[in-house]
Structure formats: structure tokens, C-alpha cells
Symmetry: C2
């Protein structure tokens, strides 16, 4: 089997482990940088390699529209296309499609929507999305799910959760059909005639997505139904950080942590900010992703140990210090705040790159520190200290 | 002396040599990438190092306005500010100031103009520009000159050329005053009391600029006046590639080549395109600079051995080949045209970086090939072949 997950250390619900994929191992907990359109915005794959990023994301919805998943397949799949030979995960695009408020119609079959690029009419079903993700060729592919706003009432959340479970089943069936098709053909006695191994693409694995909004019982039902359906290599936890209160999100993580099998990695989708990563790890989450570090970088904001800073601040004009004093990233090792501010103020592309690089490095390093604390048996104290320092910052109070 | 120039091989007027600066040697002929605002647009200094770029440019006018030359000085000078420890040349900003048509008034003293950033009133004189360039701390600094359009008649061109010569004298005087001030103070008997060497900044050298439009006699007069004035470490050749016919530009290079001292490097300012570099080297030019490779890169155009290509072309949508087949740049070694096109079409920053990187690498490599041909004694045939191939391309016919 090309996928495995081994836990090496725990502290309460928190775990340090290794998730093995066909493109290499991922030490968890880990933050995955988001490369929606097959590029982590403003960064080069070499930047990601140099900072120790292990696994990155891409998005099936966006890549289906541009350049087209068939094109990516023709060019050898996502890894070759984007020059990243490490593990990749594709999100199915459920979140994107359901965000097209007013441009989409949902039925049990799937979703009719209009492309946000050219308005063309499109139809996604659980089956078609799995075919798209098959063409893209990521290591981990996510099921097509029904996403609802974080504050949805129980009726709405139940409908979406139950549909997501049914769609997980359809995704799995199509996934297994494609996998068998890739491995060989059946002869007249239904015996497998294997394809030459050079023609078999690397294995993928499909993660289902736990839904249920902020309703504990729905989350538990979702997990039960998915666990009963199949022995998945890992689980996504979706529909969080989409408008609900932080306390509700953390509460749901506690519920899901207890309900999910302990020996499979859990991926908390679309989360998050540094404090959310720490809170998530404390509640048994292994994988995270979020556009925040690159998006905030392009908006001139940098994560630091002292809280967020806006690089445009007038007092940075002649500040010789790096973005963050203790940081070992390629931006902080070489450049002053004054220089990065200058680049940003002058709309220079290098400024966007340096800020994005620093921010992704910040989250990748934070998870490296969490793993080290888990391995050393100091995680509980380390994470409490980190959170206490964080909550003492003015910005944390304001939120 | 911190600056020297040694010629190792010649072929007709063409020369291969080494121009030594306080921040290292520059093998000539060489193309210098333009980093107007202390960044070569879309590139990282590490990209430039990796491709073998030797010397880069920055611009005194732009850096005086943002972030301010005093700020750059306070932060340790341009080299430290921008993280580039190789040789740097600053252009004085004469070209930029004289381009502010309608926003400037020229007198013998200098130029009054309004900042293109905030409309604030500014005054540049030869002396003030040298002080700005002193603060920036490049290795080579250019005189403040009077630039006129390429098609200017003899009267206009003469006035600008003669003023540029007078301003060269004033620049030199201020340059020497600042240099002496940096080295130490004079006691009551006018004896030099040297400053501790740790406080003396690295040496700079000032290049004058040959002007005279497309009028051979004016060019010769300009050279004579400058050569009589001082034993300069090198010469700029300005006011070309500013609207005149190519044949006129090449004609002026022939004139200037004969007139200038052979043992000093010649820097043809703001040139150019690949064919202009080859034509320039054949006429004794040693250094070039131009924004074309980065500007065209940001516009989706790439230089190749087969002529220019526009990456947006529909047939590149699934083209697995690199931008240019024989290219060894970091973009071509890793990515397909299909990927770079995808990035460009989706406004992804990495696309701008890869195209800019490829284009600068193309010119840096072209000059490396020219040096190799000069060293091997094959330059005349090599450059003729190159030009013949170039002129056989459809794009060359169209221009």
C-alpha cells in the first residue's frame, strides 16, 4: 500500500506522526501551502523546498476551468506540470462551487453552475469531480461535498451532511472503478489482465469529508456513516472556519477527535491562522491548509512572534531589522523591513514574494516546532505558553 | 586603484576584457540587468547570481524619490539594502528627468521638475546628483547629463552635448570633493588627517557620458572634451536608442569607437535588444543595459533563438517544450510553455518571474557566448552567423 500513517508521539489529543504518500513522507502535524492554480501564489517550488514545506494543495475546480484537467494530464500530471515532486493534495472544489451563490443549482445528482471565468455552464457530479482529480493526479484527492455556511441551522446542516455522505459513496465507487481501469483490463472470464507497470499511474487515495456544521450530533453521525462505509486512509474535516465562532469550531474539533479512528490522519480544511493551528493540533488535527499566509503577504501583512505587522507602517521606513528577528527564512536572512517596505510601497513583485515566503515559512516552522515539542514530551506546556503569549498581544484582544 | 580594465582578446573593434570594481570583476562584453528601484523587477538577487549576472543597475532619480537616498545610506548603501554584493552602477536620472516633458525647466544650473510620484517640486544639479549617487554607494556612478530625442537637429544636439560636457566637469569636481571628504580632514597646514579605514566607504568611480545625437562631429567633439578633462575609468555613451534609426545608432557607435581611448570600458546606455548587443559588441561596446528583458517578460514575451514568442499563443496551451529548447535557465530546466502560459493567463506572479528570468538569462548568456567567441578567435564569423540567422526571422523583417 502506497499510503500509511504512523504515530510516534502524543500529548493528550495531539499527535506527531508520519503520513507516507507515493511522493514521499509528510511529518505531521503539518501546514500545507495552497497552490490553487498549480502555483503557491508569488512563490517558486524551490522556495517551498528550501523552507521545508512537505505537501501542498491545488484545486480541482480552478484547474478544471484553467488550464483544464485534461491538459494537465497530457502534460504528465500536476507534479510534473508545476515542478513539485513532493506530495500534493487536491481539494475537490466543493467549497468553491457552493460559494457561487446565485450562480448554481444543487440537486441530488450534483451541481449546475456557471464558471466564474467566462460564465459558461458547467455540471459537477461526485463522479465527474473524481475523474477531474484523477486527471490532475495528486496523491490525496478530496471527495466532492456539500458545504453550507458555518451558522447554518440543524436542518440545513443535516441535509448537507447526509448528502455529503451519499456523495462520498459515489466518489468512492468512481474512484475504485478508475483505479481498476488503470491497473488493467478484464478478460472474458473477468480475470485482470494487468497493464505494463510503466503505464500505471502512481496510486492516489481518496479522503471523505466530515460535515455537520456546528452540531455535535451531526458531526458524530457523519463520522459514523463514513467509517462504516470504508477503511479510508485519512479524513477531511470540512465546513469549519466558514463564519462560525472560534469556540464553536474548537468544540467541533473535540467532538470529531473522539469520534474519528485515531490511527488515520485528520485534515482540517481551510484552517488557518497561527493560533488556529495550535488549537487544532491540541485537538488531534494532523494537516492544515489556508490561503492566509500568501493572501496576507500580498496585502503587506506579515506574521511574527510579536503578532502581525503591516509592512507599510511609516516607522519601518528605515528599520534595519528583518521582518521578524528570530526568523530563519530566506527573506529575513537577507533583507530589512525597510527594504521590504520599499518594495511593497513601490509595487515591486519581489516584495510580494518575500512577504508570502516569510508567512508560509512562519506556519511551516510553527508546525515543525510543534512536532519537536511532541517528540520532546513538552507539547502541552509549549502550546499553552504559545497561546498565552498570543492572547496577550493587542491584535488578539481585538479579534 | 580599485578600478581597472584589461583587454584579453579583440576581433576588429570588438574586445573581451575584465573590468575590475570594488565589488568584484566584470567579464566584458556584459549585459547589466536593470534594477531601477533597487530590485530587478520580478527577480530575486539569488536568481541573478545563479544565472551568472555580474553587474546590475539602479537609478538615482527613482531611489532619491523612493525610499530616499539618505535612507539607503543609513541602511548601509545599495549593496546591503538590496542584498546584492556584486558590482552596481547607478544611472544619474538624466534620462528620467528629461523625459518629464512639460514638468521640468532646464537652466545651466540644473533642472527644476516635479516628482512623477507626488508632484512635489525638486531641483537636480550636477552637484546634487553626485551627492545622491554618493549616498546610494554604487561602484560606478554616471554623470548628470542633458538628454535630447534621437532625431534632434544639430543645434539642439550641440547645446545638450556642450552642457553635458560642462556638467561632467561640475560632477567631477563634486565627486572629488566628496571623495576627499570621505578619506579624511585637512589640518591647519592643509595636511590630510586620514579617517580610520573602517569609516571610509568603498571607492566609487564616475563615468562621463558622450552625447551629440546622431551628428558624428558632435560625438567627436564630446569625446575630445571629456578626454581632455580627466583620465576617466570608463565612458558612457548616451542619447542612443531614443528614437533614431538603427543605422544612425550603429554609425554613431563606429564614430565613438574610433574616438574613445581603447583602454577604457564603454557603456552603451539603455541598449538593448539581442541584435543591438551583437551590433554593439562588433563596434567596441563593453557594457549594455536595458529594461527590455524584464518589461517584455512582464508583457508575456520571451526571447528565443528562433525569435521572440508570445507565451499567450493558443498553440502553447499544451506545449510540453520549455520556453526555448536549448536554454539552461532555471525556468526552461523545470517548466513547460504550457505551464508558463497557464501562469501568465491566470495572472500568477510566478509567470512574470519565470519569463523575466528567462529573458535576462538570454542576454547574459548571449554576452557569455560573445566572450567565448572572442577568446576562441571566432567572434567575427560567430557574430555574422548570429545576425544572419536573426535577420532571416519573420519578426526581424517586420521591424
Amino acid at each position: 500500500m502506497s499510503f500509511s500513517f504512523t504515530i510516534h508521539a502524543t500529548a493528550g489529543a495531539a499527535r506527531a506522526g508520519v503520513f507516507v504518500t507515493p511522493h514521499g513522507p509528510v511529518s505531521t502535524p503539518a501546514f500545507m501551502a495552497v497552490g490553487t492554480l498549480a502555483t503557491v501564489k508569488a512563490l517558486d517550488p524551490l522556495d517551498l523546498e528550501a523552507m521545508g514545506a512537505q505537501m501542498i494543495l491545488a484545486n480541482a475546480y480552478h484547474l478544471h476551468l484553467r488550464p483544464g484537467d485534461e491538459v494537465v494530464r497530457e502534460l504528465g500530471g500536476l507534479h510534473r506540470f508545476m515542478g513539485w515532486n513532493g506530495p500534493i493534495l487536491t481539494d475537490s472544489g466543493g467549497f468553491q462551487v457552493f460559494s457561487l451563490e446565485g450562480l448554481r443549482t444543487v440537486t441530488e445528482d450534483g451541481v449546475e453552475f456557471r464558471s466564474h471565468i467566462d460564465g459558461s455552464r458547467r455540471h459537477f457530479t461526485p463522479e465527474s469531480v473524481i475523474r477531474i482529480e484523477g486527471n490532475l493526479g495528486a496523491d490525496v484527492i478530496m471527495q466532492f461535498d456539500h458545504v453550507v455556511p458555518g451558522q447554518s441551522d440543524e436542518g440545513v446542516a443535516r441535509e448537507a451532511m447526509e448528502r455529503s455522505v451519499r456523495w462520498a459513496g459515489r466518489c468512492l465507487e468512481e474512484f475504485e472503478r478508475l483505479r481498476d481501469e488503470a491497473r488493467g483490463t478484464r478478460d472474458e472470464t473477468n480475470e485482470l489482465v494487468p497493464r505494463p507497470s510503466s503505464l500505471v499511474p502512481h496510486e492516489q487515495t481518496l479522503f471523505p469529508i466530515v460535515q455537520g456544521g456546528i452540531h455535535a450530533e451531526l458531526r458524530r453521525e457523519s463520522v459514523r456513516a463514513l467509517v462504516d462505509m470504508h477503511d479510508w486512509a485519512g479524513y477531511g474535516v470540512g465546513g469549519l472556519s466558514v463564519g462560525e465562532a472560534k469556540a464553536d469550531m474548537y468544540g467541533m474539533l473535540d467532538v470529531v477527535d473522539v469520534a474519528l479512528p485515531a490511527d488515520r490522519p485528520r485534515y482540517l480544511m481551510g484552517v488557518g491562522f497561527p493560533e488556529d493551528l495550535i488549537e487544532g493540533v491540541r485537538r488531534g488535527v494532523d494537516l492544515f491548509d489556508c490561503v492566509a499566509p500568501t493572501r496576507m503577504g500580498r496585502n503587506g501583512t506579515a506574521f511574527t512572534d510579536e503578532g502581525r505587522i503591516n509592512i507599510k507602517r511609516a516607522d519601518f521606513r528605515n528599520d534595519p531589522r528583518p521582518i521578524m528577528e528570530a526568523c530563519g527564512c530566506s527573506a529575513c536572512r537577507r533583507f530589512s523591513r525597510a527594504y521590504v517596505r520599499h518594495l511593497y510601497v513601490c509595487d515591486e513583485i519581489l516584495g510580494l514574494r518575500l512577504l508570502s515566503l516569510h508567512n508560509v515559512h512562519f506556519l511551516v516552522s510553527l508546525m515543525r516546532d510543534a512536532r519537536a515539542a511532541l517528540a520532546a514530551g513538552t507539547f502541552d506546556a509549549w502550546s499553552r505558553d504559545w497561546l498565552a503569549r498570543h492572547h496577550s498581544k493587542p491584535e488578539a484582544q481585538a479579534r
